[in-house]
Each structure stands twice: as C-alpha cells, then as structure tokens.
Symmetry: C2
Subunit: 252 residues, 2 copies
DNA sequence: GGCGCCCCAATTGCATGCAGTTTGGGGGCT
DNA sequence: AGCCCCCAAACTGCATGCAATTGGGGCGCC
C-alpha cells in the first residue's frame, strides 16, 4: 500500500495559523524580502487581529527559521548566511533521499497522476514570475513528502525546503527552472518504476545541482551582513571602539 | 578546523523560553508522562507568569512535537503512535549520520575530552533513575550536533532526539543503557581517528539498535489511542453513531 | 439500574492596557 | 562641520479582562 493511516493535520484554522501561512507565502515569494521589518502592530492591523496573535505567529515562524526574533527588537525576515544556506541544503538532501526511498515503488496511480499534474503546473508557470516558479518547485518536494504519510517527515521537509526557498531568493541569480522541471519528471518516473537506488541518486543530484547553481560562491556583497564581512578584519584590531566604526545604515 | 564561526543561540532568556526548557525537560524525564494535561492557568501559576506566556510556550512545544494542541481543548503531552516513533528514528538516523560525517577527523582535543567527560557522566548515572540515563544519552547526541556549529542541524537533531526520547519512555521496557554507553565510546574513538565511513556506520547501527530494542512491536495495548486501534473496525460500520460508542475514559 | 439531556464550572481564544526598552533625530556644544 | 547627549515616539514584554466553547456532573426519564 502507498498510504499508511490517517494523519491529523497539525495546522488548523487558528487565526495564528492563518497569519503564519500568509507570512510564509509572502516570504518565500519574496513579497517580503530578507531583512524586512515585521512590527507586531502593523501585522495585527493588516490581518485584523490583535498584537497578541501577530506575536504568536511570529514566534512560530521564528521556530521555523523564517523570521529572526531578538528581544525588544522588531522582528525581521531571516537573512540566512551563506553557510546556513549550505547547511540547509545538506540536511535537505538527506531528508529527501529518505522520502524517495520510502516512496519508491509504493505510489498509487492517482498519486503519480497528481505529481505529474503538479509538474505540468510548474511547466505552465515557466513564463511567469521567478518567485512563483521557485514556490511551485518547492511545493513539488513538499507534495512528495506528504505522500510518505509521515507527519514528522512532512514537517521537516517543508521547513527546510522553505528555508532553502528563502536562501534561493537571496543568493540565486535569475535562474532557469527548466532543467529542474525535467529532473522532477525523471524522479517521478523512477519512483513509478520502483528503482530505489536510482531515485535516491536522482534526488541527491537534483538538489545538489539546484544548490550549486544557486549558491554560486560566498558572494560577499549581496545578502551577507556587513558586520559579518568585516569580522575577520576586525580580529586584527585591538581597540574596543572598532565595533562602533561601521556606523553605516544596515539595509534599510 | 573544527569550529566554524560564531553562532547565535536561538533560545534566549525569555520567560517563554525558560518555561519551554522546563517543560521539555519534565517531559523527557517523564515527570510529565504522555497524555498529561497542561492547562494554561496551571502552568502560568506554577511558573509565576500569565496565561499569555504559558500559552506561547505551549505553542512552541507543539511546534516541536512534544505537546498536542487541539482547539478549545486542554493541551496534553504528545503521545506519539508507534509508527511516528519509527518515523522519528528513521529521520534521526539520517540526520545523525550527517552529523558524524561532518565531524569525522575534525574534532579538537578539547572537544574529544568534552565528549569523553559526558560519557563518563552517563556511566556515573548508571545506577540512578532510568529517565536520567535516557536524558543523558540523548544529550550526548545533541552535544555532538552542537559541535558541527550548524544551528539548523542542532535544532533538528535536538528536536527529533527529544521526540525519540519521549517515545522511548512510552514504549521501552526498563532497559539497560550499558551497551549504548559503549557504543558512544566507540563513536568518539572513530570520530577521533577520522574514519568517516566507519563512524557513520557506527552511528547508524547504534541508533537502529536503540530503536529496535525499544520499539519492540506495535504493542497495541500500551500507548496507542483506543480510537486508533478501533479505526479499522469502524471502517466497516456505516452508522454515524459509531464514533460515539467507545465512551470509555481515555487515559486518565 | 441505565441512558440521555441540560446546565454550569473550567478552560481556551483573543483584545486591550500598561510598563519598560530601543531608536533615531534635533539641539547644543566643541 | 562634526560629535554627543537627551528625549520623545515607536515598539516590545507581559498581565489582565471578557466572550465563547467544552465536558462532566446531576437530574429526570425510561
């Protein structure tokens, strides 16, 4: 059988869940770019809820790593470092290999059809906004994870995929999604054939190539924090005041 | 090098973080057993904070999978199904193989000493409470993860390890921790030697054996929810009222 | 005696209010 | 002009208050 037992969905129709979903989507579609401020008041007003709820939602998103929350400071959309991006992809590769290992040869016809339909949708969106393509590609992987019927796996794959999505939008050049779509098709076909080793390899190289295409190099100019860039230089300096020197505006 | 760059710790000294830590520990040490009720009022009063804070903490723990949160219902300590436990261990194996892969041959002498000291502590606690042994063993794995200096990896390994800890307390017989301690020592030594393949294998089998020793069988009587057990039987029945029938007390 | 219904205490969902902290900008001093 | 300090606006941290929902005990009915 392909499906296990029934699984309770964790995210219900709470107000905070609604806001979480909205913000998550806004973030991964770059409507909110990394570093964007997220004041509780503004969120509350925008979504028609109190600060309490907005705050709670920010807490959840912070737990997912999409938002940075510093005490007494305005929450901001997370700005993962290049190293964190690389780490996220490494984890993602392992998790998604596990997904396809569990799925190989166990998919129903309906599920395969669903996957194909999704890739068709990706294909259809090729002319549109880059952000939408990235989101659809990400959702393909989440769809796969959901088919394992393992709520834990779904959660982790989703989270790490969203994080990768976020970093893609940060470090990626305007990229071509076509080969990714072909790779998705190849994965589906290998899954249908039930070739476990093959599909694990396909997934591995698929994600690896996406990561390598995107995370081209430590690209210090874009996305990295000024203080991080200067850190190694500051190590040479002994004065206490060195940290006060770069009094430049930090994005924004 | 063994360490990467500085890493901000995500969990600061918020009141909610404090409560989270306290509850987490209480849960994995079985002071709060699965199914235990966690009313916001009671928590707030116990920790000297308002319901708002207790509520927020419960939200975080729910995101980690340690607590179940149903709308308009009292929160309870999560009761993972046997299948979820198995899934958690599968994920954990992959994640921790990644950990030791990154760590093999890259540990400083100080780090190795720290690991050995921890295992000594595990050894010392062998006579004490089972729950403490389990916690220490879990913390060994988290300590390893922390040495990768990858905050994301730390977070996921911690979470999934805590979940496993929770299920161990649910399904495990009073178990002997000795072999686990020896396996920990073996892992440290392989890490020091830098034998990547060996240490990945050691970790894999270590976790696998822990899982197999604990998750002996689907043991339907203990831990599984009555409704889950009856679910397949209920499928045969057409009446709407079937779901109301098992009006028995559901764990106390 | 057992079954079902109803009502109330218990509890959650959420908004608002108040106090403490941060920010950033104007004015004064050098 | 440049630097610094101080203050007010903005924002967060948290508690409290009120409406809505639940579930369990008690009562009546079978």
């Amino acid at each position: 059988m392909a499906a296990r037992s029934t699984s309770k969905t964790s995210e219900s129709s709470d107000k905070v869940s609604v806001i979480c979903r909205a913000l998550r989507r806004a973030i991964i579609e770059q409507a909110l770019e990394p570093g964007a401020k997220l004041p509780e008041d503004a969120l509350g007003e925008r979504f028609g809820v109190s600060r309490t709820i907005a705050r709670h939602a920010l807490g959840q998103l912070a737990a997912e790593g999409l938002v940075e929350l510093r005490r007494n400071r305005i929450a901001v959309v997370a700005t993962p470092s290049w190293q964190e991006a690389r780490d996220a992809f490494d984890i993602r590769i392992e998790l998604e290999r596990l997904v396809v290992r569990q799925l190989a040869g166990k998919l129903t016809k309906a599920q395969i059809a669903e996957l194909n339909a999704h890739v068709d949708a990706e294909d259809g969106a090729r002319g549109g906004a880059d952000a939408v393509s990235i989101r659809l590609a990400t959702e393909f992987h989440i769809l796969l994870a959901q088919m394992t019927n393992s709520p834990i796996l779904v959660r982790y794959v989703s989270e790490v995929a969203y994080r990768c999505c976020l970093t893609l939008s940060l470090y990626s050049r305007p990229h071509s999604t076509e080969c990714a779509i072909n790779e998705h098709r190849a994965i589906i076909s290998a899954l249908a054939k039930g070739d476990e080793a093959k599909v694990m390899d396909l997934m591995h190289h698929h994600l690896d190539s996406v990561a390598n295409r995107a995370l081209v190099a430590p690209t210090p100019q874009r996305g990295r924090d000024l203080l991080d860039i200067l850190a190694p230089y500051a190590d040479e300096v002994t004065s206490d005041r060195v940290v006060k020197l770069p009094k430049v505006a930090r994005r924004g």
